[in-house]
Structures are given as C-alpha cells and as structure tokens.
C-alpha cells in the first residue's frame, strides 16, 4: 500500500488531498500512468508533467525515480513560498 498526497491545484483537480492505494508501479512515471488510466480528473491533473513536482517520502524527486520502499508519494505544482 502506498499513500498518495495531492497539493494546491493538483488536489483541487483530483478532488481529494490524499488516498491510499495498491499499485504495482515500479517508478513514479508508472504510478502516474496508473492514475491517469483511472479517471478523467486524474488525466486532467497529470496532463502536463512539466508543470508538476513529485516528492517521495517527503524528499523532492523525479518522475523516473523507483518506488521500491517508498511509503508516501506527493504530487504538486512548483512551490511558491516566501
């Protein structure tokens, strides 16, 4: 089981802040493909990966990173703090 978190407009497009799911994906990109295949709202949220960032267990990572051992994946737009 993996926990997936969504923030900012990714959260709004998908319509929920977090979910726990069973996945056979071995990389972030494969997880994204699984999500996109589920429903239109996921396809909409993940339409432009260049506009998204991903964190694995709360560390910024990349879409080709492996998911082995990862418990928490978060998707969000580029940060705008400060």
């Amino acid at each position: 089981m993996i926990t997936v978190l969504y923030f900012a407009w990714v959260r709004e497009r998908i319509g929920l802040p977090r979910e726990t799911l069973q996945s056979s994906a071995t990389t972030v990109a494969e997880l994204v493909a699984e999500l996109v295949a589920r429903e239109e709202r996921y396809a909409l949220a993940f339409a432009d990966l260049a506009a998204l960032r991903v964190a694995l267990d709360q560390e910024l990572s990349s879409f080709d990173a492996p998911l082995a051992g990862v418990r928490e994946v978060a998707f969000f737009p580029p940060m705008t703090g400060g």
Partner: protein, 146 residues
C-alpha cells in the same frame, strides 16, 4: 537554529530582538520579512497551503545547508500557512554571523531556496475569484547563482 511553521501571526519586532540578543558573538544580523502585498487593491486574502512534515524537513535542510556554506552563529525561519490578509506578515528569516557578507549571503540563499524548494503554495483570493500563484522562472533562475 529555529524553524517554525505555524498558522498564527508572529511578532517581527520581538522575534528580531530575541534573535539578536541570543546571537552572542555575532557582529551582523540580517532579517528578511515577507508581507502580503495587495498589488491592485483587489486582493481580499492569501491562502497558503503547505505539506506538513515535509515543510519542516525542507526548511531544516535549507538552513543546515546555509550553515555549512557560511560562517553563521544562528539561523531563524518562521513561515505561516492558512489565510492571511494584505499587510500581514507571511514569513521571516534571520541570520547571525561574525561578518556582514556571510549574514547577507545566507539570508538571500535561504529566501531563494525557501521560495522554490519548500512545499508552500499561495492562492490569491480576489474580488473576481481565486487563483493559484504561478511559480516564476526568475525564482528558479535565482537558485543558479549559489
């Protein structure tokens, strides 16, 4: 080092005074404070979303890197989340160092990284709707000077 991520306001004056008083041996203190600005008189509020857990980790990691790069006696980062109105303070950083060049460089470094690498997202609530603030290319480009 102190990292605070909070919804409640902070007292800039009291925080600055306390930071400077505690930084014994420092010759230079730099503070930066970010304020919600109403650029066109149409901003009703600013919502700041964050990623609890990762936010504290990211800020600690940025501050630790600053301490490794420059000779600093202390670092403070306070960042608010939740709903803020124009004129309210969003965040502050403070650096204490023996010399001014280090205090300035570290404060600018903290701000540059905090802007683009700490998981905060701003949404502007205006008279005609709400909109997520887009990240600026210039903020990403600012990282390349370090």
């Amino acid at each position: 080092m102190r990292i605070a991520v909070q919804s409640q306001p902070f007292e800039l004056g009291a925080e600055t005074e306390a930071f400077a008083s505690a930084a014994s041996g420092a010759g230079a203190i730099v503070t930066f404070t970010g304020i919600v600005r109403d650029t066109n008189q149409r901003l009703a509020a600013m919502d700041i979303e964050h990623y609890p857990g990762m936010t504290e980790k990211a800020l600690t990691s940025i501050a630790t890197e600053a301490q490794a790069r420059w000779s600093l006696s202390d670092v403070l980062v306070i960042h608010r989340h939740g709903r803020l109105v124009p004129g309210e303070m969003i965040m502050m950083v403070a650096t204490a160092a023996p010399h001014r060049a280090d205090a300035f460089a570290a404060a600018e470094y903290l701000m540059d990284y905090l802007k683009s690498r700490a998981p905060f997202w701003k949404k502007e609530i205006g008279a005609d709707g709400a909109e997520w603030v887009a990240a600026k290319d210039s903020d990403e480009a600012a990282l390349q000077r370090w």
